[in-house]
Structure formats: C-alpha cells, structure tokens
C-alpha cells in the first residue's frame, strides 16, 4: 500500500476512534436567534389562557400536551390532569426533545406563576424549539379562575364576563367534583398520564438533491 494511502486511511481510522468519545449532536445556542427571539417574545401568541387550557382538557383535545416544568416533588403533590413532568433543569435533555420540539401537539408549559414556565419557554425557543406555549399565570391563575372562579363584580351586565364565569363554574365542577352549591372544593387528585409519541411528524414538503 502506498504511503499516501496509508496516511489517509490511518487518519480516517483515528477519526473514527476519536468520534466514539464525542457527544451526540444537540442544537447549539445560535447567535441570530436573538433577533427572532425578541420578535417571538413580543408576540402574545405564546401565551394560552387558563380558560383555553381548561377547555382543551374538558374536551379531551388530543393535540394538547401539558408540561409541568416544576420539580418532581411539586409535580407529585399536585398538577394538572394529564400533565407530564419535565423539570426546568432537564428541559434540554435529549429524551425530552421529542416532546418539546415538534409540531404535532400543542405543548403548554406551566409552573406555579408564570416565571418558571416563561424561563423554560425562553430557553427552548432560543435553541430553536418551536411550538411551545405558556399557560398565562400558571397554577396560581388556574386556582383563581378555574378552581375558585369569582363571580363577576358590579351590577353592569357584562355578557362576556357572565359567560366566562359560567364556563369556569362548569370547569370547576369538572376538575374538583364540587357540588353546585358549595364554594370550597376538596383538592383534586392528579392523574398524570405520560403521552406516548412514536415519531415526530414534520410537515412534508419536497426535498432537494
């Protein structure tokens, strides 16, 4: 075998061996993301209200994927029905990428308030993960609007507010099993069900050669 052949083949061999020790490919934080990121931050489209989430749960909307970004302890104590737990410090783990970077489900991140879920959203979006939303106000808002909806104040007939209140009352019954008359409700049991996603389906378009 000629000298040149030997050198090139050895180089390939060494490269192959070195590769064993390198990390799998994860998206790197990219610079240009900044402009787009700011644009996306300003878009209100990333928020979804507690009402909408309640509606999707009650309708058993199959496209909903709820992600609780708090710690496992908090998740086990109480969480939303059907939510899975991806703690904030693990959101970039490869095993969760299939859930967080796809366009099949509507992924709704939530936490106690908004801040942790917002942070999670920021992190994911800056890495180019798409399709994630934040439940505005988090579980605190959930408690305030769904579990303990307030009767609309004032004497002025606000049809929207009335409708919303009725909806929330219905939701309250669904989620807490409360009687129509009582105001306080027992704490609901969490029934987290981990959704199984076999393959992420990206939109099909033509490729190139």
């Amino acid at each position: 075998m000629r000298r040149l052949d030997f050198w090139i083949l050895s180089l390939l061999f060494i490269g192959g061996v070195v590769s064993i020790f390198l990390d799998d490919i994860k998206p790197l934080p990219h610079i240009i993301g900044q402009k787009e990121l700011l644009h996306q931050i300003n878009l209100e489209g990333r928020y979804i209200s507690t009402d909408e989430v309640a509606k999707m749960i009650m309708e058993k909307d199959p496209s909903l994927l709820l992600v609780d970004v708090r710690s496992p302890e908090e998740y086990n104590k109480y969480t939303l029905e059907g939510a899975m737990n991806i703690p904030y410090d693990k959101i970039m783990d490869k095993e969760y990428e299939a859930y967080l970077n796809q366009d099949v489900y509507t992924t709704v991140l939530f936490s106690n308030g908004s801040s942790l879920a917002d942070q999670a959203w920021l992190t994911l979006t800056s890495y180019g993960y798409e399709g994630n939303k934040v439940m505005k106000g988090g579980l605190n808002e959930w408690y305030r609007t769904i579990l303990h909806p307030q009767k609309p104040e004032g004497t002025v007939l606000d049809r929207e507010a009335e409708k919303r209140y009725l909806f929330r009352k219905g939701a309250q019954i669904y989620f807490t099993g409360a009687q129509i008359t009582t105001e306080s409700a027992p704490k609901p049991k969490a029934q987290p069900v981990k959704p199984v996603i076999k393959r992420k389906k990206k939109e099909v378009t033509g490729g190139c050669g």
């Binding site: 040149l4 090139i8 083949l9 490919i25 378009t205 033509g206 190139c208 050669g209």
Partner: protein, 171 residues
C-alpha cells in the same frame, strides 16, 4: 489522482459547503431547478398549477438562482480544468469496446431517463442524497446507499453484457 486523496479532498469540500452554505453537494437538484425555471419561463400559468413546481416558486426570485445550479456551473469549469491538466479533453464516447457506439448512446439515454425519474422520487442522487446525507447521519442517505448500490449489484449481474466481454458477445 490517488483515489483516497480524491475522496479525502471531496470530503473536505463537503465540510466547506456545509460550513458556508449549510447545504451539502448535490447534482440532481441543479438539473431540477433548471428544468423548473425553463417550464416557468415558457408556461408560467402551468408552472403555478403544478403541485411539484408551485412550492418552489418565490416571488422575485428565479427558481434557477439556487446554490445547486451554481454548483453545477462550477462543476463544468472544474471538470474542464482537470481534463486539461491531465490531457483528457477530447470528444469521445466512453464505452466498453465490444458494443457499438449507437448502442451506447441508446443506453445512455435510457439510463439518463431512469435517473431523471429516480432522483425526483428519491429526492436526490448519489452526491446529494447519499453522500451529503451520510455526512450528516441521515437515515435517508443510507436508504439511498443501500438502494442504489444494492440494486446496482443485482442489475449489474443481469446487464453484464454491456460492460464485460462474455463468450456470448465476443466479436
């Protein structure tokens, strides 16, 4: 040129292409873009209705102004340069000596048509689909590899007489 060296340099070229343009090398794409551009120039209303062409048309941007087309233009020049350096620039028909020129040209035409269909269905050719696909660990690249070379070996056995003198076609 030493085959391994050629391959190695080609690999570096692929890396450069990915680094600069974010795209791998590809050949069939350039052909496709030229065909689409021509159809678009000649019959724009048909082009917009055809569901293969339509997604690739962008306003104010000719479909032939793509990375792949310019790549192919470069290929033409690069090949000529190399041929001149190696003294291989001349008109000829490349074939095995035991078949006629006419037969060779027919075979070339048929082969070309097959590639035309195959590349659009398979989304690429050996360089675009397989080589560049393997460079990024894409499954489709490996499917292409297995398909082209696997089928190639089988068909080669069937069509042996085109390339190899057998006792049946010895002149």
């Amino acid at each position: 040129m030493n085959s391994y060296l050629a391959g190695f340099l080609l690999g570096l070229l692929i890396i450069a292409a990915y680094y600069i343009s974010g795209e791998g090398l590809g050949s069939s794409g350039g052909y496709r873009d030229c065909v689409i551009a021509t159809i678009h120039d000649v019959a724009p209303s048909y082009a917009e209705k055809n569901s293969f062409i339509a997604p690739r048309l962008q306003a104010g941007h000719s479909p032939s102004h793509t990375f792949l087309v310019y790549l192919l233009l470069g290929v033409i020049f690069g090949s000529i340069i190399s041929a001149v350096l190696y003294g291989r620039l001349k008109w000829s028909i490349g074939k095995a000596p035991h078949i006629t020129n006419k037969k060779r040209l027919y075979l070339a035409l048929i082969g070309g048509i097959l590639w035309g269909i195959g590349t659009q269905l398979g989304r690429g050719c050996t360089s675009g689909l397989v080589l560049s696909g393997m460079a990024v660990n894409s499954l489709s690249g490996y499917i292409g590899l297995v398909g082209i070379f696997g089928a190639g070996f089988v068909f080669a056995y069937i069509f042996k007489s085109i390339w190899i003198k057998t006792s049946k076609n010895k002149k």
